[in-house]
């Protein structure tokens, strides 16, 4: 199965009904799939902390939610993750494109990449790193784990996972 379709199918099978997204080139395919999925309400956000707020509200309203964003967002959302998602103990799957890893063509992306895992570790956020598409076989289990423990959980997906950057 196409990886974008597999990710969305796992979301649907775990009763995720609202997904907010902030785009990244690598996430374009999965965002298209989310948008086309009739079982998921797709709500694009202008900034990732706004999206995490929407997810928190949806969770309290009775709908499981998730956010799709780039790893630069970890720098943007530390306060929200700590004082909203973690403080109130809410589940939040975060599917994250891990820019700045191997095959990255843009040097500036590396600057945030080197801090990404350290920040997630500092925040005590369970973190999984998908490097090969076969790693996504764990996604279903990771989603179940997230809703079991009521925590934000990060799924980092690097360029190798997504098949590189084309001709860049």
């Amino acid at each position: 199965m196409d990886i974008d379709k597999k990710i969305v199918a796992d979301f649907v099978n775990n009763d995720i009904e609202l997904v907010t997204t902030v785009p990244c080139k690598q996430l374009a395919g999965v965002i298209d799939e989310i948008d086309a999925c009739k079982d998921i309400y797709h709500i694009p956000s202008n900034k990732e902390d706004e999206g995490i707020g929407i997810c928190a509200g949806a969770f309290m309203g009775g709908k499981r939610s998730a956010i799709i964003m780039q790893n630069t967002a970890i720098g943007v959302t530390v306060n929200t993750l700590v004082t909203l998602t973690q403080f109130y103990r809410m589940p939040l799957p975060m599917l994250i494109s891990y820019r700045g890893e191997l095959k990255e063509p843009v040097a500036c992306q590396v600057e945030m990449a080197v801090h990404t895992k350290a920040l997630l570790n500092q925040l005590h956020i369970p973190t999984y790193h998908f490097h090969q598409q076969s790693d996504a076989e764990e996604l279903d289990t990771i989603l179940k784990y997230t809703f079991m423990c009521n925590k934000p959980v990060a799924i980092l997906t690097d360029a190798t996972f997504w098949g590189g950057y084309g001709d860049q």
Partner: protein, 187 residues
């Protein structure tokens, strides 16, 4: 009127509604005036009251009122286009606009100067935007609740604070009883 007086007059109208209340003094004032399981108090995360409220509104059918401030909306300006483009007719955003960052010592905001939040909300695509004076806020809210139309209310009031105790309730308790109240409201 200052914000706490606006909230005091609003209580009879919003007491049985789902309310997401802004961080700092607004939550502390509402908590002191009328603590209800239907109130979600933000203890941190400035700026996200409208985003959280929109999320609750999109996830279930009951009316949701987000109480926000001018400073907080300025912090999270991206919320207004998101609200405008994801219409939830069970959502009311009340921006209590006192032209200042009340919880941090009444430093002036740009909303108290040249910037009109009502004009910004309209420019973002919000269809029902009502700017009112503090004295009229309760009537405007009553009408908004009855209208079943997504409404943005910008309530202009004076800056100033009263002494209120901090909220010592555990955040998980606040969240859990709010979720229980939502479930009960929807059954």
């Amino acid at each position: 009127m200052i914000r706490s007086e606006v909230l005091k007059e609003l209580v009879p109208v919003i007491s049985d509604q789902l309310v997401v209340c802004n961080i700092g003094l607004p939550s502390q004032e509402l908590h002191m005036l009328d603590d209800q399981p239907t109130n979600f108090y933000m203890l941190g995360t400035m700026g996200l009251s409208s985003s959280i409220g929109l999320g609750v509104a999109l996830a279930q059918d009951k009316k949701v009122i987000s109480i926000d401030g001018d400073g907080s909306v300025l912090t999270n300006f991206g919320t207004l286009p998101t609200i405008a483009n994801n219409v939830a007719d069970n959502f009311i955003l009340l921006i209590i606009d006192n032209g200042s960052y009340g919880s941090t010592g009444d430093q002036p905001t740009y909303a108290g100067k040249k910037t009109s939040l009502a004009a910004v909300a309209k420019a973002c695509g919000c269809e029902t935007v009502i700017e009112c004076q503090a004295e009229d806020c309760t009537d405007v809210m009553r009408e908004a609740i009855a209208s079943d139309k997504m409404t943005i209310i910008v309530c202009k009031c004076k800056s100033g604070n009263i002494k209120v105790p901090v909220i010592t309730k555990d955040p998980v308790v606040i969240r859990d009883r709010f979720m229980t109240a939502i479930r009960e409201a929807n059954t």
